[in-house]
Structure formats: C-alpha cells, structure tokens
C-alpha cells in the first residue's frame, strides 16, 4: 500500500495541530457523517466494511455496536481503550501522540452512530505525552465546534473526557477498564451481563480500541467497499504492525491486512541483523503463541494467523534470532503476567506465579529443576486455560504452552544441564515492583 492513512503523521509535519489537520481534509468525514447519515446508516456502513477490533480480540465492530439496546432511557457511553499495554505493542500511542484529531474524528462519528453524548478515553498512565496532546486536541476541537453542544450545527452533543490509567495491564480488558473508569479496582467483570447492556455506571457502553476508531473516518469518506477490498474480505483494512526485537528497522508499519509475516520481517523491517538465523516470532503481542522460523509464511490477518495456531492479537511482532534462550523468554513473559494478574480468579492468581517459579527454576535454579518440570509447565498452563473471568489467564498460559511445545528440546536441555546453555543473561528481578 503506497498511501499511508493511519500513519499520515509520518508524511505531514505537525498533523496533530488542528489547523494542519483541517488543511489536509480533516473533519470532512465528521461533517459527512453527521450531516448526511443517520446513526443507523453509520452502523450499517461499519458493519458492511467488516471492520474488526484492533485491540486484540478482533470482534466485528459494527456487530458490537448493534448489541446496544434499541430503546433505553439510560445514557449510552463510548469508552475508548487507549490503555495500550500489551508487550511489543506501540501503535495506539503513535496515533494519540501524533494524530489525535484522527482518533477524535473516529470518536465523534462512532459516538453519533451509537447515540452517545459522553465519551471517555482511558489512556495508559505512562502515556503522559499522549494524554497532554489529546487534552490539547479536545480543547482545539471544542473551540472549533467539533465537540460540545450542537456539533457542527447538527444538534448533536458530545463531550469527551480523558481518564488516565494508573499502570495496570488488566485495565485494558474492557470490563476492567470500565471498573477502573468508575474509580474502582480494575477487576474484570463476570459476563453476562455484557457492557453493551450493563457497562459504565450500569449503562449501555461500547468499548473500542484507538486504532479501530481511527479507521472509522476513512470508512466514512471512502466507503465500506473500499475498506473491505483491502486485504482479506473477512478481516480487511489498513493495519498497523509493531515490529520489535532482532530486526534491522524496528518500528510501526502501516500495511494492508494480510501482508505475509515473512515480508514484514524481511522486507519492511529489513530482516535479521548480522545475518543471524531467525529462531522465533511472536505475531500478536506477548500473550500470543510463538511461531517458529518455519511458520512465518502466514498472511497477517486475524483468520489466517488463527488458522496457523496463534492470534493476530495487537499485531505486536517480536522477532527473536538464534541467540535468544526460549526458556528465558518464556520466563520474562510469565513474569509479566504474574505481575499483572489482578488476582481475582484462582487459576490465574495462583497459576501465573507458579509458571514463573518453574521457569525461573529451569533458567536460574542451578540444578533444582527436573525433567518433570517441562511437563509440569504444560500441565499448569492447561489448567489455567478457559477457566477464568477474563482472558489474562489464557494470555499467560498460551505463550508458556507454545514455548514448551515448540522448543521442548531446549527446555529439556536446561533441566538436564541444570543451567542455561546460552550466554549468561541477567536474571529478571524476583521482586514485585509493588511489593
């Protein structure tokens, strides 16, 4: 794709400023949506576009919107999920910091479509610059009449509020986000009921990812058919891929959905430095199963990656060359999920810590690990999957299981040697940052 849309900020300096944004056709989509479409028509357009959520689960956006009650006396809320915390993911941050009005347009149009008059953007606490820039964008937009009472003279009212998170990964889970937004501990809620009927403050609520909403203005301007024609029909559109690890040019790439993983690594990101061999790739953020070097001929769209045994997730592509110890990598990931488990459900609260302990024993245990620990990891991971309120338990178990299954010999070698056969690597802290 020659033309960049989501990342126009790369081509247009100062795009984050309203005057620059408007000079490049900004807010035309908003004007078009609010003056020529009914909310129902907009929901229809987004449905037809086959836009699927960019946060990780890939749920069809238009379908999600249509779960809102048709008649309700309660206010409808839009909660923008900007709690981008999945390790290896740095795409939403770019949009918020560099092109906030694109997101704001997506929010305004989507809010209009779902008859919402108050939207919240829940921004990851660490994104201080993003929060500042988005606040500034809101102020500019309000002054220009794109927000507040009677948006563009259409009679539509909308307020957008910035809410900054406090550093918990789990607040990116949509009901954890809602609880946190209500001022409570970020505990995911049991479902049913679902947010579309009982969400924020008990009212109908839609939670959408930043990149998802950023797609909406483009769909409005260019049409659902245009969008659906980019990449595979059932999982289409422009997509941001975050490439990190052992590549020559790490960074965020805007490419058509379905671009092959091999092409992303070797063409766009410039391949592995120093002519070292590829060992493995995590395709969708730390919670997704790893691909071996033989498994990278997969189109990067939701359905294809799932068919290949992993998930597109947040499209955080983490590339590992032959120098990487997979036990150590599994340990670092396990440690993350142990640290981030909210502690509500038994299997996740206890299982994430147990996984970390066993992996640490294999990597740094100086002979205390045994061959049985390899199967123990699989067993713990198996018991953690599909048994909890939210997906964090699966998010911790899936990568552990994939690392053990796909690099089993390496795990067994650790157990047999009683140490890590790779060069010594600093042990990740045993301390909990908050303990």
């Amino acid at each position: 794709m020659a033309e960049r849309l989501l990342l126009r900020c790369r081509d247009i300096p100062d795009l984050r400023r309203l005057d620059v944004y408007v000079a490049h056709g900004g807010y035309e989509a908003t004007r078009k949506a609010l003056t020529t479409c009914s909310p129902e028509q907009l929901v229809g357009i987004v449905k037809t576009s086959n836009l699927r959520g960019r946060g990780g689960a890939g749920f069809p956006t238009g379908l999600k919107w249509s779960f809102l009650p048709k008649q309700t006396a309660k206010p409808v809320y839009l909660a923008v999920n900007a709690d981008e915390s999945e390790p290896g993911t740095f795409k939403d941050r770019l949009i918020i910091e560099q092109d906030p009005h694109q997101l704001l347009e997506g929010i305004i149009i989507s809010a209009y479509a779902i008859r919402c008059h108050t939207a919240y953007i829940y921004i990851r606490g660490e994104f201080a610059l993003g929060a500042e820039r988005f606040e500034a964008a809101i102020a500019e937009a309000r002054q220009a009449g794109f927000l507040g009472k009677n948006v563009l003279g259409t009679g539509f009212d909308l307020d957008v509020w910035v809410h900054r998170g406090a550093g918990a990964y789990i607040c990116g889970e949509e009901t954890g986000l809602i609880e946190s937004l209500e001022g409570k501990r970020g505990y995911p809620r049991i479902k049913p009921p679902f947010p579309a009927t009982h969400g924020l403050f008990g009212c109908p609520t839609i939670v959408n990812n930043v990149e998802t909403l950023a797609c909406v203005p483009h769909i409005v301007l260019r049409g659902a058919d245009w969008f659906r024609a980019i990449g595979p029909e059932k999982s289409p559109g422009p997509k941001l891929f975050c490439v990190s690890g052992h590549v020559v040019r790490p960074g965020t790439y805007e490419l058509p959905m379905g671009t092959p993983l091999r092409e992303i690594i070797y063409d766009h990101a410039g391949g592995i430095p120093g002519d070292r061999k590829l060992k493995g790739v995590i395709p969708g953020g730390a919670s997704m199963p790893v691909f071996t070097a033989d498994e990278i001929d997969v189109p990067m769209d939701m359905d294809s990656v799932q068919k290949a045994g992993s998930f597109l997730g947040s499209a955080g592509i983490m590339v590992m060359d032959e120098t990487v110890c997979m036990v150590w990598t599994a340990l670092v990931i396990a440690r993350f999920f142990h640290h981030e488990s909210c502690g509500q459900c038994t299997p996740c609260r206890e299982g994430t810590g147990w996984l970390e302990k066993v992996l640490r024993r294999l990597e740094y245990g100086e002979g205390t690990a045994t061959a049985a620990d390899v199967d123990l990891l699989l067993n713990i991971a198996g018991n953690m999957m599909g048994t909890t309120i939210c997906a964090l338990s699966d998010a911790a178990a899936m990568p552990a299981r994939a690392f053990v299954t796909k690099y089993r010999a390496e795990f067994e070698e650790h157990a047999a040697l009683g140490r890590c056969p790779f060069r010594p690597i600093a042990e990740p802290s045993r301390r909990h940052a908050h303990a």
Binding site: A168, R185, I190, P192, H338, H339, E340, S341, C342, G343, Q344, C345, T346, P347, C348, R349, E350, G351, T352, G353, W354, K357, L376, N383, G386, T387, T388, I389, H432, H434, A435
Partner: protein, 526 residues
C-alpha cells in the same frame, strides 16, 4: 418454568435461578467458595465450574442461569479435572497449618480437598508466598492472610450489607491480600459475620478461637434473646457450656446474619450471678430449700394472702424477658389468685439500635407479652404505688429487675411494705434482697419454649445445655405453682404449655408448637 437435566436427573426450577441453585434444590452439591446467597455474585473462586452440554468451555454454576433443555454434568471427567485443578491452585500458596488453625473441622479447603482433590502437593513449602499471620483487625476478628483464598466474601459483606467497607483487597496476583483500609478498624456492629462467612481460616473469631475444636461441639437451634428482633441462631455447646452463637438462616428475620452484641450475649447466660437453688427467708437470712418446700411455701403464702385480702391484694409483674409459655402460666397464676397483672418491657435508655437487625427493645418477647394482654406500661407503676400505699399483700416478680428499671429508692420503699415477695428469675438481682421466696429459672438456652419477635413471629428455641445446679425451666416451675393453687394441671412440656396458650389466646389460635418449624410462624394478623 425451565426443565434441565443435572447428572442425569430432570429438575424443574423457577426461571432466573442459577445452575448452582437448581442443583442445590435437586440435592446435588456443586462445591463453591465465593458464592454466598446473601451477597452479589463474584464468580472468582472458579470452584463451581461445571460442564454444560453445547457450551465449549466449562461454566461457573453460580453465574449461569438455567435454561430449558440444559444438560449439566457436575461429576464428569472434565468437571472433576477442573475441580482438582482449582483446589491445587488454591493450595499451592496455602500454609497448610491446619493443626494450629482454628477453622479446622469447619474449613471448606479441608472438606473439598478430601472430597474433590486428594493429590500430593507439587509445590515445595519454601516456594510458597509468605504473608502476614494473626493480625487483630477488630475487637472480634483475627486475620491470617496466608490462609485467605481471596473469595471476597468478607469485602462484599462489608460493602453490600453493612456499607462500611473496612476491608479491601490490596496488591495483585498471588500477592493479593485482604487488609484493613488505612486508619480503619473492623468494629462495625456486625463485624462477627465475616468470620461466619469466611470459608477458610483467614478470619477467625477472637472470642472463640482456641477454646474448642468444633468437632467436639454440639449444636442447638435457638433464637437470640438480646433484642426484639429474634435473630435465628445456633448455640454451639459442650458439656453444658456454651461456646458461641452463630446466625442461622431465616430470610424473614435475619437473613444470614446477627449483630455482635447478640453474638456475645451467650456470656450473659452463664454469668456469675446465676441463681442456683431455691431459697426461702429464714429467721434472719436466706436458707436453701428443696423445690417442693419452696414452691409449697410460695403457694401457701400467696393463697393465704389472696384469700384474706381484697381482690387485687396480690400483684404479679411479668417481664418481656419471659417466653410465651411463662407469660401464659403467670396469667393462670394471676387468675387463680385474683391478682393484678402488670407487664414490663424495659430497655436501657439510649441503647444502640439501627434500621437493620438491632432493635431498641432489648427484650425478646415484648410482642408476646402484649398479645397476651400485658402491654400497659402504666400497670407496673400502679402496682408500685399500690405497694407503697400498703394495698398489696403479696408481689410476684418474674424475671424483673424492678429496682434497676424504676426509681430504686421508691421501689425499695414500696417493696418494704409488701408482706410477701416471691422472686422467680434466672439471675440474682437487687430485688431478691427483699424476697421471701426465690425460685431459680433456666435461661432460654437451657429449656424449650417460644418468643414472639417484634414483627409477631413466634419462634422456638431448643434446650442446648442443662440449667446450672437446681435451676428449672420456667414452664415447669410455674406449672407446679399454678397447680398448687388449684389453677389447673401442670403442663407436661413447653409444647403443652404453648398449645394451651394457643387454645385460649386469639392471636396464637392458628399455631401449634410442633408446627412452628425451624423458622417460626407469624401470629394471627402479623
């Protein structure tokens, strides 16, 4: 009304019930920790995961609504594997200190481990997460964070029932712990309930812990006598000592809860001041007597004074501490003597009460007294005035501390002018000093009987322990006294006394002792 299948059996249940509730009604236990009928659904412990056909993942029975045609398996291999896994997870950081844990014997971790798990630990002891132990968090409650399974029953109780939120969960993952909010103490009037609902040894009672292993204790169904609410309780006892009160479920009265004051009121039932044997006034001091002799003397003097005096020469004061049966028999006594009757329901002024369970009326049977026609508050003062005026020849005080409840000097002056004072009570009080005969009674923990609570619900209490020394149940003592005075045959039991009351008294007419059930019945019109 959906029909579902649970473990091969068809179950018809009301719409809106959960699978867990439906199974319970079918007599099938689905193990659970966090679910409690009096709290919102948390769904966090994952112990109630069950296999439901046509749903790919196991579902938590506590939050899954029944649907017609649903097929549930609570003992399938998939369900059993999940139960084993959850129990293993719960135990990997548990200290397994059962030998020194007061919850042992009533611990759901122990029970479910034996029922659903029974595997060897795969986590070495030194690898366990350590947390704080034996932290006093309030006057009644001790916290052990290591034993906690984070089911959030306590925090939900404090958020949803008392609305006081003293406790919360802090930290994350397996470092999560229950802890007091900064600057708070768990001292609300219902704090003891968190101990009852804690399924493990994390919250134990500072009053009860280490005093008895629960498997040595027996239980009796009873009703708390600390106020007019009549919270249903169980009395835990052994060798004629009471060790604790715990609330017993009654949705119409106390749901699942009781107040701390009521919970600790068992102490009042076995205090130092209990009357141990009948005594009569001798030449210049009280002398111990046999029951036959003491009742004989009381009956003889009352009969003489009633016969010789004007109608109304004998007065009887009945307090709202008396069970329905005793009130009834005292009315019979009054009829036999042509006596003036007065009821008294006294509570300490300014005593704590709220709009939940605790009532300002600190008597368990004020309604029972009123329904039997002894409700006139002025009648007692009339009697005191009559006594002071020298008009009373004899006075019977039943469970009444008149000197404490009215102006002490005036009462003492009045009592000195009454030739014969019969005191019938459980405990030694001021008025006993003026008595001619003192008859010791059993408390409600020591006999059978009924109280009528503030809302007119008649509730049974059962004998838990034996009365101390020679004290006897009130229905037996009064029955005999009435019989001696020709007022009718003595009842053979509390049940007989109650049924005789029901036969005579309009409000109780539809009630039968044996049909009152565990949760009581309302009087007519209540």
């Amino acid at each position: 009304m959906p029909t579902l299948e649970i473990d091969g059996g068809k179950v018809d249940v009301a719409d809106g019930l959960t699978v867990l509730q439906a199974a319970e009604r079918a007599g099938i236990e689905i193990p659970h920790y966090c679910w409690h009928p009096g709290l919102t659904i948390a769904g966090n412990c994952r112990m109630c995961l069950v296999e439901i056909e046509k749903i790919p993942k196991l579902q938590i029975a506590c939050n899954t609504r029944v649907a017609d045609g649903m097929v549930v398996h609570t003992t399938s291999e998939k369900t059993k594997a999940a139960q084993r896994a959850v129990l293993e997870f719960l135990l990997i950081n548990h200290p397994i200190d059962c030998p020194v844990c007061d919850q042992a014997g009533e611990c759901k971790l122990q029970e479910y481990y034996m029922d659903y798990d029974r595997q060897r630990s795969r986590v070495p002891l030194p690898a366990k997460v350590r947390k704080k132990k034996a932290i006093p968090i309030g006057p009644l409650v001790m916290l052990d964070q290591e034993r906690c399974i984070l089911c959030a029953r306590c925090t939900r109780f404090l958020d949803e029932v008392t609305h006081t939120s003293e406790l919360a969960i802090y930290e994350r993952g397996d470092h999560c712990e229950i802890e007091l909010a900064p600057g708070r103490v768990l001292d609300n009037p219902y704090s003891g309930n968190v101990v009852d609902i804690c399924p493990v040894g994390a919250l134990t009672s500072r009053d009860f812990r280490f005093r008895a292993r629960v498997w040595y204790l027996e239980r009796a169904e009873s009703v708390c006598g600390a106020c007019a609410n009549g919270c249903n309780i169980e009395i835990y006892h052994r060798e004629d000592r009471i060790f604790r009160f715990q609330p017993r479920q009654n949705l119409a009265v106390n749901q699942y809860w009781m107040c701390d004051n009521g919970r600790l009121s068992y102490r009042d039932l076995q205090g130092e001041g209990r009357l141990m044997q009948p005594v009569v006034r001798g030449e210049d001091e009280f002398v111990g007597s046999t029951w036959a002799s003491a009742i004989g003397q009381a009956a003889g003097r009352l009969a003489d004074l009633a016969r010789d005096g004007d109608p109304g020469a004998v007065g009887i004061v009945v307090s709202a501490q008396a069970p329905n049966e005793e009130v009834f028999l005292l009315r019979r006594l009054g009829a036999a003597l042509g006596a003036r009757m007065a009821g008294i329901s006294w509570s300490p002024p300014g005593a704590f009460h709220d709009d939940f369970l605790v009532k300002a009326d600190k008597n368990p049977n004020t309604s029972g007294l009123r329904l039997q026609g002894l409700g006139d508050a002025g009648a007692v003062d009339d009697l005191i005035r009559a006594a002071a005026a020298g008009e009373l020849r004899a006075l019977v005080l039943h469970r009444t501390d008149l000197t404490a409840w009215r102006d002490a000097a005036a009462v003492q002056a009045a009592l000195e002018r009454v030739p014969c004072l019969v005191v019938i009570d459980t405990d030694r009080r001021e008025v006993a000093a003026y008595a001619d005969v003192v008859l010791p009674l059993a408390t409600y923990a020591e006999c059978d009987g009924t109280f009528t609570n503030h809302a007119g619900r008649v509730q049974r209490f059962h004998t838990a322990v034996a009365p101390p020394a020679e004290a006897r149940p009130g229905w037996a003592v009064l029955g005999e006294l009435v019989a001696r005075l020709g007022g009718g045959e003595p009842p053979a039991s509390a049940a007989a006394a109650f049924d005789a009351l029901a036969a005579e008294c309009e409000a109780f007419r539809d009630l039968r002792y044996d049909a009152l059930g565990a949760e009581g019945q309302p009087v007519a019109g209540a």
